[in-house]
Symmetry: C2
Subunit: 331 residues, 2 copies
């Protein structure tokens, strides 16, 4: 295992401390609950948007806290759901007059933790809603999931919910936009290598030197098939076909296209994939109105990528365009 | 070799095409010269800022083209200087009434290409200046360098030159700020793995499963020493001591701190390093006024990181704060 690491058990807290130290004016860190929150939260003029999940997917979700995005994130340990009491304590701290929206990627452990926390919060008279994200078309049911998995497409749900919440919308309207975005968002990923959780110390799965896992999950869950590594053109063909045929996306659609890196793949390769996908979408008469290339939802240092399409309408496009800022930034 | 790739010879052009397709309104791509430029360049009310270098360091430099940053980048092939005629053609296209500033990381090949292009441009009566960046404290003279190497600290030179140029400053003033920033910027890096150039197909160097290269160059050049992999705490100690003692940075200094990923290291580990470095700087009475965590200047998919400090004054801090936008972005 080759990582920048002290004690594997302190990997998540040390990362969170780094986030807090890099953002002293805007971020509050509550170590007892792995909680990273906007320093100005809760704001009672807006719905609080919260997401938690296992760690290891950074920048999701602890680094997408900020105006127009999440009000808080409460991660678990690497690839482990946050304990329900972490989520409950987070919900209490984020309780605003307008309510709290809990965004949850669809994994059984996360679902249980967030549903329990939501029940406890409601018993405290906190107005709370829960929304599950399941954009991964690769498989139905998986190692940790009943139904479809939530992966990089969660970025678009967060962005639109965050933008509408920032405008002062009511909880039910923020839930409605989140459900709409989730319903038109589709993703599939591919792994070129496995990844190594710090506490495990060895790769999560074995992948031959000439193999790839098509449809991989962001915790290394099996996808649709194990295959010999092929060209970038063929890979994009397979990802694009899976995603486009699922909704389906059709000629005349306006879309957002995301090429998301899984952690160990350089951005040069992601732009190479983007160029191929963009050309193929143009050939199908599908218009890319917004593009996203980079690491959004990763799997530690896994080499790989996912492709996400979102079918846009005026409302979604307006919310994607709205200003936002996060922990992760260039300048 | 596990990469998203078609023909290794087309790796750079396919990446550049992806950049162009993702930014149809703001970026112009001139395939004959690997040239990525702002669509509104040259603007005669500002100095044009240009940087070229080998590819494989993305987002540097083709993805940091945009308002307040570079007007253009003309990369060579992976880890190879751009041909001097590419630089010359770039300079001709970017020639503005206020002149062209060529920023060059200090490598012998790049230096030759840019100096020759600058001479040809001057013969055409183009007002041109050249500025060499050499922030890497690890070694003096290296595989491809006489003197010190230019690495991730070039971001700060670009940012300050870009911001001052945007204000309409004269060429000599933009050169002066670039020289000042370079003179107060220091970096050292560390590799946990090698990287594989697409056309080579095998790792650039060998590094044992329990080894690290301290002071590595961004083309895999040897650093100060090969050592057994140690804890993140010890690594930060070594990088920080090398950088702080070089300028030297002193108690009472205000600084920018960058933890730059070399391509294959996830941002979670970079924030972990940041947290350690921030604490150690605070202990030394050095104040971090601005923080940068992420991939700025990479070495393909190399696992590793570098640490950069910049000593701030009011002018540098103001220019770092100025608005800017680039090809690489979150939203």
């Amino acid at each position: 295992m080759k990582k920048f690491l002290n004690d594997p058990k302190q990997f998540v807290p040390e990362m969170l401390r780094g986030i807090a130290l890099a953002n002293p004016d805007t971020i509050t860190y509550v170590p007892e609950y792995n909680l990273i929150m906007r320093s100005d939260a809760p704001r009672h003029d807006k719905v609080s948007i919260v997401q938690g999940s296992g760690s290891g997917h950074e920048p999701a979700h602890v680094m997408v806290v900020g105006p127009g995005m999440l009000d808080a994130a409460c991660p678990g340990d690497v690839f482990a759901a946050p304990p329900s009491d972490y989520v409950y304590e987070t919900t209490k701290r984020l309780a605003s007059d307008k309510g709290v929206l809990l965004l949850v990627n669809n994994y059984t452990g996360d679902k249980m933790a967030f549903e329990m926390a939501a029940e406890l919060s409601e018993a405290d008279d906190i107005k709370v809603a829960t929304l599950f994200i399941n954009d991964d078309v690769a498989v139905t049911d998986s190692l940790y999931t009943v139904g479809r998995r939530g992966v990089a497409g969660n970025f678009f749900v967060i962005k639109c919910c965050g933008a509408l919440a920032e405008e002062g919308a009511e909880l039910e309207d923020v839930v409605a936009i989140g459900e709409k975005v989730n319903s038109v968002t589709r993703t599939m990923g591919i792994a070129l290598t496995a990844c190594t959780p710090p506490a495990k110390g060895s790769p999560l799965f074995d992948l031959g030197d000439d193999e790839m896992e098509v449809g991989v999950g962001i915790h290394g869950e099996p996808g649709r098939r194990r295959a010999k590594l092929t060209s970038a053109d063929e890979i994009v063909d397979e990802l694009l076909h899976a995603v486009v045929s699922d909704l389906p996306f059709e000629k005349g659609d306006r879309v957002a296209l995301m090429i998301n890196g899984l952690g160990g793949t350089p951005i040069s390769e992601l732009y190479l994939l983007y160029g191929i996908a963009a050309q193929k979408l143009a050939d199908q008469g599908i218009t890319i109105a917004r593009s996203y290339v980079g690491n959004y939802c990763t799997s530690l240092e896994m080499a790989g990528a996912s492709l996400t399409l979102v079918r846009l309408d005026d409302e979604i496009e307006r919310l994607l365009e709205a200003p936002a800022s996060t922990v992760v930034r260039i300048f």
